[in-house]
């Protein structure tokens, strides 16, 4: 049980190695640069390749190529770089490419405050590319969880053939914390299901629309196709409206059908509570201090901390809101995940956002006061 003092970015790099990552490409940007550095140090020593690309478009392009050639791939950036990834994220979705994308969020828009944290990219992540298809996004609250969720992100990417986002924050990425990585409970490592060599292969073959196609790596046993264009299950271009719709339905269904399976959250429910906190990421830690304080004062308070932001774990959120009068959603943005909570809120329940983007953390007392928690 070795205790260490490491930052979130290092935990992610080590989680990637643990998950079997074999390829990393990135471009320097605060607060994600140290992750590039850790991967450049770790990959070559762990049978992998890590490279600084000429720009972010190349970073993610290299990763898509490497993933389709069979390597588990990861890239990392922050706001300005994520914006440049957008078109290629669509490519990874349409090509059903397993890929882990780390966004160490910083305050934006644009260059914003390079060295300051925020959670401003939540809805951007959900709707990150033209066409508007679903993705998976996980959000760790601390360094240990950054390690765990990295492994889970790789698993999900392989399992669902989709880009999986790890939404962290400068406040986790560059904050050193005490951790014992050996004590972090990790899931079994999942690898993509590869097509059998003896059978004919179609790169996007599914029976029912939610089925995830098996994969054959470039350079593997089959001759295979990958395309950015609307295609059929063979990967051949098509202009048939029925097939086009069927593929779109497939990209959506394979994630929607797995929503409950992907759902990751921590519940801390109190019998009879009328006040609920729904939080995620670094802000969930301020929320948990607020919860404890309010309970000490005699208030009934429940808390739901969401680790899998997308697909939205609706079942858990709806269950948590049962009997609740008021739900507080604190975020280091101007009210983004609150939109998801509002659409799921039962009639008569109020949803209060506690929001700021002044580059500082939301404090527990700020959340209590601005959330009207004692009202």
């Amino acid at each position: 049980m070795p205790l260490e003092f490491i930052e979130g970015n290092e935990a992610i790099a080590r989680g990637a190695v643990r998950a079997g990552c074999g390829f990393f490409a990135g471009y320097p940007i605060t607060p994600a640069s140290t992750l590039l550095q850790y991967m450049l140090d770790l990959m070559p020593r762990n049978d992998g390749t890590a490279i600084q690309a000429e720009d972010e478009i190349a970073s993610i392009g290299f990763c898509i190529g490497a993933s389709m050639a069979g390597r588990k791939a990861m890239t990392a950036t922050s706001g300005p770089g994520i914006s440049l990834y957008s078109e290629n994220i669509g490519l990874a979705i349409i090509g059903e490419t397993p890929l882990v994308i780390v966004n160490v969020q910083r305050q934006g828009p644009a260059t914003g405050s390079a060295t300051k944290g925020a959670e401003g990219d939540i809805q951007f992540t959900r709707w990150i590319t033209s066409g508007g298809m679903p993705i998976i996004a996980l959000s760790p609250a601390n360094v240990a969880e950054a390690y765990e969720l990295t492994v889970r992100a790789f698993n999900l990417a392989e399992q669902y053939r989709i880009p999986v986002f790890l939404l962290t924050n400068k406040e986790i990425g560059l904050t050193q914390e005490t951790v014992d990585l050996d004590s972090v409970r990790l899931p079994e490592i999942i690898n993509r299901t590869r097509a059998s060599a003896s059978e004919a292969y179609k790169p996007h073959q599914f029976g029912s629309i939610e089925q995830v196609p098996v994969i054959s790596d470039f350079g593997g046993e089959h001759v295979t196709q990958f395309t950015t264009s609307t295609h059929d299950q063979n990967g051949y271009l098509t202009s048939d409206p029925e097939i086009a719709q069927n593929m779109i339905d497939h990209y959506i269904a394979k994630i929607e059908a797995a929503t409950d399976e992907i759902a990751l959250y921590r519940e801390d429910m109190q019998e009879g509570a009328e006040l609920l906190f729904i939080s995620y990421g670094i802000t969930s830690r301020s929320a948990s201090v607020a919860v404890k304080q309010l309970r000490d004062e005699g208030f009934g308070v429940s808390s739901l901390v969401i680790q899998s932001l997308f697909p939205v774990p609706e079942t858990a959120i709806k269950a948590a809101m049962k009997g609740i009068r008021k739900t507080i959603v604190p975020e280091m943005n101007m009210g983004q995940y609150k939109l998801e909570i509002e659409r799921l809120a039962p009639d008569g329940m109020s949803v209060i956002g506690v929001n700021k983007m002044d580059t500082t953390l939301l404090s527990p007392s700020e959340i209590i006061a601005r959330g009207g928690c004692r009202d």
Binding site: L3, T49, A66, L174, T175, G219, G220, T227
Partner: protein, 442 residues
């Protein structure tokens, strides 16, 4: 010639190539087919990567792996494929349009010299979107977007590639008799190879500019650009060099595990801020201090704040120590505040002014601090650092703080230094801690 794999690498399963009659792309693709057929590359180990544009329709007409990506980005996928699997033969088909929008990748691929072959189907315009001008449209060229004739100079793709370090570059036209042989040479070249092949877009550029096969031959002369094999040199191939350098890396540093062997006196989370200047090793001192906390059975967090221009201005570290897990990592009202120099004071002046009486403030004797309710302790930090040596002021201050606060034993901080510092500076560091302790004891 053997036909181990295919008598032709093009398939007619999808019908004829979707090119306009006479389109130069078709000629280039036939020559690529001829080259591949002569080479008999295992189709499973061969990838045709295409860019966007009419040329981007071509990949799936080959009996090989095909990868059709975004406009201008084909070289990036090719790079990922080749790095991930060096066994692959990777051929990229790109238009002149792709060379413009993806110029950065062209330069980088040339510099990198990864073993990829780039064939540019250069028809001087964007065929697919209606014949608009591209980076290779000749001066005077008529296109829908240069109605008065193009006035932007055409780029010399081979010269640009060569300038960036390409090790093999050829320029020819789609009518070249031996184009398939040139393609074979390009593929066999152990590094990045470029074939800039000029050709006709019969739908747009050719009719608009009263252009034909003869003109195409002439253009290569009148353009003043070189043709034929322009560059052929040898330089290490990127993939091989990367793998070799990876093999020569020293072993990774051991994980620095922290054993909690000391005790502590904290009942609750305690915030410590240390503020100084860049170059004073404030972050490093703070890290030794935090680790000593962990070695004393405490939880710790540390955040460092400094300007992007790291060698100048302030350096402020915020440390939390706590007997239980730390949730909220910001320090709104520090329990201990240490300011060692003017830069640190300037950065934190507003916070200093707002401090309450619960903060113990340790400052260098020479600093003019704003009015504050904090308990102030002035110490000769700068003077002591002159005695103890460069880079010691942070540890002197934290040594004093630990003596004063008794958060954990001074020995934990000393042990942290022994465990984490390079042997050469351990003695100086320990001396700094002792000096700090003495200051606080005085």
């Amino acid at each position: 010639m053997t036909d181990q794999y295919h008598e032709t690498y093009m398939t007619d399963a999808l019908g004829p190539l979707p090119c306009c009659p006479g389109c130069g792309h078709e000629r280039i693709l036939k020559d690529l087919d001829s080259a591949l057929t002569k080479m008999q590359i295992d189709p499973r180990k061969l990838v045709i990567v295409t860019d966007i544009g009419c040329i981007g329709l071509a990949d799936r007409y080959f009996k090989a792996n095909s990868f059709h990506g975004l406009h201008g980005r084909s070289l990036t996928y090719a790079t990922g494929l080749k790095l991930a699997n060096p066994e692959l033969t990777v051929v990229v088909l790109m238009g002149d349009g792709g060379c413009g929008i993806g110029g950065a990748h062209l330069l980088s691929a040339a510099r990198r010299n990864l073993d990829i072959t780039l064939i540019i189907a250069n028809n001087f315009n964007y065929g697919m979107t209606g014949g608009q001008h591209s980076v290779t449209t000749p001066i005077g060229g008529l296109t829908p977007t240069t109605p008065g004739g193009n006035v932007e100079r055409a780029i010399d793709i081979c010269a640009i590639g060569a300038g960036a370090g390409a090790t093999w570059a050829y320029r020819g036209i789609s009518y070249d008799k031996d184009l398939d042989e040139r393609i074979i040479e390009g593929i066999k070249h152990p590094g990045f190879s470029i074939l800039d092949i000029w050709e006709l877009c019969t739908a747009y550029y050719m009719p608009r500019n009263e252009y034909n096969k003869k003109e195409l031959y002439k253009l290569i002369e009148t353009s003043g650009l070189n043709s034929g094999l322009i560059v052929q040199s040898e330089r290490g191939e990127f993939g091989a060099m990367y793998r070799e350098s990876a093999g020569n890396l020293p072993p990774a540093k051991d994980i620095s595990a922290l054993e909690p062997v000391f005790g502590h006196k904290l009942k609750e989370q305690t915030g410590v801020v240390i503020a100084g200047s860049a170059g004073e090793k404030i972050r490093s001192a703070a890290s030794l201090f935090s680790r000593a906390g962990i070695m004393s059975n405490l939880h710790a967090t540390q955040k460092d704040d400094y300007p992007i221009t790291v060698m100048t201005g302030h350096s402020v570290s915020e440390i939390n120590l706590s007997p239980v897990t730390i949730e909220y990592t910001a320090i709104d009202s520090p329990d201990y505040f240490v300011i060692v120099s003017e830069d640190g004071l300037k950065k934190t002046a507003a916070l200093v002014a707002s401090l309450g009486s619960t903060t113990h403030l340790i400052v260098d004797e020479g600093l003019q601090i704003p009015d504050t309710a904090a308990t102030i302790e002035r110490l000769p930090l700068v003077r002591s650092a002159k005695k103890a040596g460069q880079f010691t002021i942070g540890l002197i201050a934290l040594g004093a703080l630990i003596e004063r606060s008794e958060i954990y034993p001074t020995e934990a901080l000393r042990e942290s230094v022994r465990r984490h510092q390079k042997p050469g500076i351990v003695e100086t560091n320990l001396r700094a801690i002792d000096l700090g302790s003495e200051l606080a004891a005085d």
